[in-house]
């Protein structure tokens, strides 16, 4: 199976890169890093501010990927799927939620925090935003190991799934530590940056 990379995004605690090129981010000290990225890149999606940090990171990366491909969020994407890998999954939000039920004297479970206490909410948020109709999956794994990642991405392209394009990657957030590597993959090589293989993971 030949799979191609059409675009890729990486986000760390310090930098946002699209196809290897660093984007200028205006940092305002009073705002969190992910909010600074949101404002700097001119996104318009109020729901962003209700999301947990894992979903915010996934949202930003998927916006950038789709933007590279010239695809609008409104356009239904029937032959697309989204699959991500993460080490901590929703643990960061799980901890936040746990704080709302920690004390019997101050026991007010937050519904808005609770709804993000599942690792696969991040892929769901991306699928909703971009009208992705295919598979939506989040794998909790130890690391973004290339051979495992490629094998998992190939699953989404099995013929019976009728998927030609896929958002695939790594989305990790825990205790302020952020690491995102996300790829737009396709079975169509036209306009591709390169083939989807283990060497891609070093770029």
């Amino acid at each position: 199976m030949k799979i191609y990379v059409k675009a890729f995004v990486s986000i760390s605690d310090k930098e946002v890169r699209v196809n290897g090129k660093s984007l200028p981010i205006r940092e305002e000290a009073e705002k969190p890093w992910l909010a600074n990225i949101y404002y700097s890149l001119g996104f318009q999606y109020p729901k962003f501010f209700k999301m947990d940090n894992l979903c915010k990171a996934g949202f930003i990366a998927s916006e950038l990927l789709m933007g590279q491909l010239g695809l609008t969020p409104e356009e239904p994407k029937r032959n697309w799927s989204v699959a991500l890998m993460s080490h901590s999954g929703s643990l960061d939000d799980d901890k936040t939620y746990q704080q709302t039920i920690q004390s019997a004297d101050n026991y007010f479970p937050s519904p808005a925090v609770f709804v993000y206490t599942l690792s696969n909410i991040v892929t769901g948020e991306i699928a909703i935003r971009h009208k992705i109709m295919g598979e939506s999956t989040c794998y909790v794994t130890k690391s973004f190991e290339p051979k495992t990642a490629i094998a998992l991405s190939e699953c989404a392209f099995l013929p019976e799934k009728e998927v030609d394009n896929q958002i695939f990657g790594w989305c990790e957030y825990l205790d302020g530590q952020l690491s995102v590597k996300m790829f737009a993959l396709s079975l169509d090589g036209e306009g591709a940056l390169r083939e989807w293989e283990t060497s891609v993971f070093t770029i």
Partner: protein, 91 residues
């Protein structure tokens, strides 16, 4: 009542993460929920937001809603919410 309305607006902004919104930008009588209809003015809150408002009333004002059907009237606007709180608050 005006002070309560002002406080309530600030609490709603904080608890619902309404980024970029200020208390002055919320009309006292505008609908909090628009049923997904963007042509209806208001805050456009959703069902999770409604649950957060219920938690807010319990945590900050000691009000526990006994009947869920009451919520429709109570959460019509900031003004109706403030009116209910002023009559039923225990803290």
């Amino acid at each position: 009542m005006n002070e309560l309305i002002s406080t309530l607006k600030q609490e709603i902004i904080e608890v619902l993460n309404l980024e970029g919104m200020t208390p002055d930008g919320i009309d006292d009588n505008a609908p909090l929920f628009n049923g997904g209809d963007p042509s209806v003015a208001g805050l456009g809150l959703d069902s999770i937001d409604a649950l957060e408002l219920i938690v807010l009333m319990e945590r900050n004002y000691g009000i526990k809603l006994k009947n869920a059907s009451e919520g429709k009237e109570i959460f019509k606007s900031v003004a109706t919410m403030a009116d209910y709180i002023s009559k039923n608050r225990t803290k």
